[in-house]
Symmetry: C2
Subunit: 496 residues, 2 copies
């Protein structure tokens, strides 16, 4: 028999609370499709509330389609799998969180801002803007790592930059970015990514999404852009806004499938070979070579190598960038400092193959560089003095400790016996395949009911949801140490 703890209702109306509880149980799979709800009278008596209250709650569930009323028989639960998105209209705060959480899970260089966007959304629309704080633990976000950033060092360097460069900081910034910064980036790429590039190939801009806009103008809007599936699907918003054609191309365990890519007719492909989003694997060299061969087969084919987060891979040396294998001027390398420094720093860069540099200068260089001089000089100095390298090591350690802590707790729970780790050395997150009868929606709802924000691999897939069901994306960067045990315990409890 259904019953709920009325003490937890908080400031909600009684009927609203009851509605919430039942709805959550339906979405969570605790009440199964076609199950009969207790009669209004029975439930009212059982919970010591008025029949009118139960009636109002049932009415609301009816209106929203969670239950159906069968004449003279009572209320029955509908099959509501995959309904999460539709719930928005109900306007309850939990939905809001769910949406925010979902967005927060997207964390390539290009998406780090989405959170900002959403926060503002909420503000403008009268929301509370506190989405994140309401979770007991958020397994979708790696935002708080910025707290490890050596701000006082950064501030010192900014002050020095202001004193040392003086009026020079007011002058026009060259369109590709200031020379010293491009030199430091070239050095960094050589040491960390094995890339031998000239500073003249490097374009600095206000974040990777900004540079992507330039890139589209460079490569043209007549082509077809291909995207990994699963992958960073939100990229399609950018494609749509630019009026581009795009295709989803399935991946296998080694990366994007060449047969599917050929079939798609695409001429530009966006991949993250160093750290697949969201799975985290590295594309092996054989597949990289196949992809490069594909590019070489026809004029105008290009590979955009999104190298976000490759710096944080644990236990192994970072894999050299795909760009290092490119002898045919086909790879455009893209990365950002918003992930390696802190979220508000709007500095990304791309490395163009030499043949594209000239075209860039001809077609797109009339745009100004979008990053302020002082920030560019400060960043160059931060890198030159070795702080950047040191910070990356520190962040890697931070992620390693978080991950080790999480795994240690996980091993103590019943969940450990029914799950498999995938890419646990990817850094920033790993995947957890759970042997469970629950659907992904049910998993998310159950987790939400326990104060956990979760996202599943299926959210990053177009089609083929069957194979990818029951795989959780576990980002651990934002789980406070003191909550790790409890958070993992609650996670385990989701699966009974």
């Amino acid at each position: 028999m259904l019953t709920y703890n009325l003490e937890k209702k908080g400031e909600q109306t009684l009927y609203g609370y009851l509605y919430e509880c039942i709805r959550s149980d339906i979405l969570c799979g605790r009440i199964l499709p076609n199950e009969k709800l207790p009669s209004k009278r029975t439930l009212a008596k059982n919970m010591e509330i008025s029949v009118k209250t139960v009636e109002n709650a049932y009415e609301q569930l009816l209106v929203e389609g969670y239950v159906r009323a069968e004449e003279k028989r009572g209320y029955f639960v509908n099959a509501v799998e995959g309904r999460a998105a539709g719930n928005k209209s109900a306007g309850n705060p939990a939905d809001g969180n769910m949406e925010t959480g979902k967005e927060a899970g997207m964390e390539t260089g290009i998406n780090a801002d989405r959170k900002a966007g959403i926060k503002t959304d909420m503000k403008v629309h009268g929301g509370n803007g506190h989405g994140k704080e309401e979770w007991f633990a958020d397994f979708t976000s790696n935002y708080k790592v910025y707290e490890k950033f050596p701000f006082s060092t950064w501030a010192k360097i900014m002050r020095e930059t202001l004193s040392y460069h003086d009026m020079e900081l007011l002058e026009m910034v060259p369109t590709l970015g200031i020379e010293p910064l491009r030199e430091e980036i070239a050095k960094h790429l050589y040491e960390f990514r094995g890339m031998e590039v000239s500073p003249q190939q490097i374009v600095v801009g206000a974040g990777t999404e900004y540079l992507y806009g330039r890139l589209i103008q460079l490569l043209g809007r007549d082509g077809i852009y291909a995207l990994e599936n699963p992958g960073y699907l939100k990229m399609t918003r950018l494609y749509k806004n630019h009026g581009l054609s795009y295709r989803y191309v399935d991946i296998d365990g080694n990366g994007i499938r060449l047969d599917a890519l050929r079939e798609s007719g695409a001429n530009v492909v966006h991949v993250s070979p160093g750290h697949h989003f969201p799975v985290g694997f590295v594309m092996p060299v054989a597949r990289r070579q196949e992809l490069l061969n594909w590019a070489g087969e026809e004029r105008g084919r290009y590979i955009i190598e999104d190298d976000y987060d490759s710096e944080f891979r644990l236990n192994v040396k970072p894999v050299p960038a795909m760009q290092t294998l490119d002898t045919d001027h086909r790879v455009i390398y893209l990365n950002t400092f918003s992930r390696t420094l802190f979220p508000s720093v709007r500095v990304g860069y791309m490395v163009l193959p030499p043949k594209l540099v000239e075209r860039y200068l001809e077609t797109v260089s009339f745009y100004s560089c979008s990053v302020s001089a002082v920030e560019q000089y400060a960043l160059a100095s931060f890198m030159e003095k070795g702080y950047f390298e040191r910070h990356i090591r520190r962040v890697k350690l931070y992620y390693k400790e978080k991950r080790d802590g999480l795994l240690a707790e996980l091993k103590r729970t019943p969940l450990w016996g029914k799950c498999t780790l995938i890419e646990e050395n990817a850094g920033t997150r790993f995947l957890l395949r759970v042997d469970t009868p629950l659907t992904d929606s049910q998993i998310k709802w159950c987790a939400a009911g326990r104060g956990l924000n979760l996202s599943c691999l299926s959210e990053y897939c177009k089609g083929q949801t069957k194979e990818t069901g029951g795989i959780l994306l576990i980002s651990y960067g934002d789980i406070p140490k003191g909550r790790m045990r409890e958070a993992v315990g609650r996670l385990s409890a989701v699966f009974g």
Copy 2:
């Protein structure tokens, strides 16, 4: 008889110098079409150089089409009007300057960077990058005003911002920009431009060209964009790169012509009603109202009000923005701090009509704000403490003194008797209509020969060059005080 001062040849070869001199005289109209050049022998004797040198110079002129050889009669000058663009292939440094100067003349918010772009171009392509310094006086540029910027105050505020905000500076910036800055901009717009807008309508971004990109995504790429003619024609590069349709729409003395606008089929029109580029006039209220009526006639019609440089109008109070008349949510106001502060500050903003704000948040807000937090907080503080207002007053005074100095000198020259001033209170530049038989190309070449960089209104016109011939654009911001008399004297000498 032709003769040239060989002492001025500098490091050029003798024949190269001779070629340059003759070519310049041809382009300048000092040697007329069909005029016969002296025979090689005569010129050689006259200038005390070898016949071979003259022969080489003539040969070069012949190859490039400046002269023709008529059998047994000698060398005759061809009609070469309008050849300037084609000269590039000759590869002489003066051409390079001419190009740079031309670009430097473009100075709306959107174009301030072009210089940077060109500088880099030159660097990459092995040029010297010093274009500007080679002119005795550059009448096309207002770049150096940044030297008036109170850098030490700015640096102090940046330092304070770093100390006061601390870690907060690392956090994600809301997509529209930080609240305090948007509040200060709203206050500024109220006081200076008569606009009553909410900070929620303001979007901060890395320069107006960046915001323009967002705007295109917001308004859609299916429409037709209209541009004033004459006007900021380089805008078409941005339209082209975004794959948009656009039309040139003629202006009359009051601004864009409504009949021509209707005929164009455009639904978005880009205007600068507060300070027409490059003419400088203010669009009178009647025309503004007509334009607003046009926008109101059909769904999806919008007016982009580019308000660049309106702050610097002399002698009168700034005219309220067109946005203040907009009751129908049709005007998008655009401005930049790159012009009012200093060139390297990549901060622009737009004011959306309330109805577009929501659409913006839905369609484009997934992009991050492209301006770093520290710069936004510093700018907010700079404005809040009244430094921005004070700086604008100072810059206005700077322009006024430059202009007054120039006019005082102009009155002492013969040119004064054959010219008319147009929009001399526009600030930053005025137009000078000269009664002269010279074509615009000849004017520019003669001026270049005297070390002056000049641009003409016809360069900003599509078609209709006849009516706009002989009108010079006189930007005075970069003429050093000590050179004003000499510069104006040389300008007068161009017209004999």
